[in-house]
Amino acid sequence: MRLTKVLRLLSTHLKPSSLLLGEWPIFDQQTIATLALFPSTERLSLEMHHVAVEDLRYLDTVFVNFPNIRELRMEHCAFENAPYTPDNQVFTPRLRSLEFINCAVMPLLLYFLRRQIVPTNLFSLKCFKPGGIPAVGEYFSRFGDLLQEIQLGFHGVSLSTGNFTLYSAF
């Protein structure tokens, strides 16, 4: 509650263009609502260490509350592999860049695939696990003609199996 009050007070003075939400209490509806206090945000970083979000619709909420978002960076984000049906009424952002760092790409990337969210400039995947390769393949297959810049970060060798992660890129 105190956090919410502080954010409301801050929102009257601050119109940030960049916002980092680290270890955000994402399951609390009241705190989710406070996201709407900063609609000026264009660059948003979400860091969700140690939690796996149950519902991909959480991202719908994020986009609704940040209507001016142009750059999204997600780090250590994981979502449960629950069914997701896109709601066509939900605001679709026009992103310049979309970055995933140490994220469980599956099913996260499928959200962006189904919502048809394609960055106009940078698409970045760093430290993704081999299990996410099919989702990457599906995303490239669907939007490969639109992607202008790609950054890929591989672990040279999969430590658990000894198999090359690079192999999985084919």
């Binding site: 081999p130 393949g137 490969g144 790609i150 040279g156 090359f164």
Partner: protein
């Protein structure tokens, strides 16, 4: 190849800039990494690719000759004629083998160096 399933690089028809970072490595597989970087490039059909950069861990302190000719063969294809910059950035704590790495790349990718589009850096 448990995870083999295809990232569909062949669908990247409009790609202009590509960066691939190998974040850590086992020296035993160094040549394999280079080979697969070349194979990835070979799959990309974009005719407008202008910049390619690789971030690669530095070689072992006493490396044996590493050859980049496979990558050279790929990059000399006509569809890479729009390339204006290719960067190899070596990272790591031991700089001692950087001289070898740079010399070998400059030698094996000499045509790109002659075009003035090749950069080799450390950290």
């Amino acid at each position: 190849m448990v995870y083999y399933n295809g990232a569909n690089f062949q669908c990247l028809t409009g790609l202009q800039r590509l960066s691939i970072n190998i974040l850590h490595h086992n020296p035993l597989y160094y040549r394999e990494h280079i080979k697969h970087l070349a194979l990835i490039l070979d799959k990309i059909p974009s005719l407008v690719l202008k910049k390619i950069s690789f971030v690669i861990p530095i070689l072992p302190p006493t490396p044996s000759r590493v050859r980049w000719h496979l990558m050279a063969n790929v990059l000399q294809q006509s569809r890479f004629s729009q390339l204006t910059e290719i960067v190899f950035q070596f990272i790591g704590y031991d700089e001692s083998s950087y001289g070898y790495a740079k010399a070998w790349i400059l030698e094996d990718l000499a045509p790109l160096d002659e075009r003035g589009i090749l950069s080799v850096r450390y950290n």
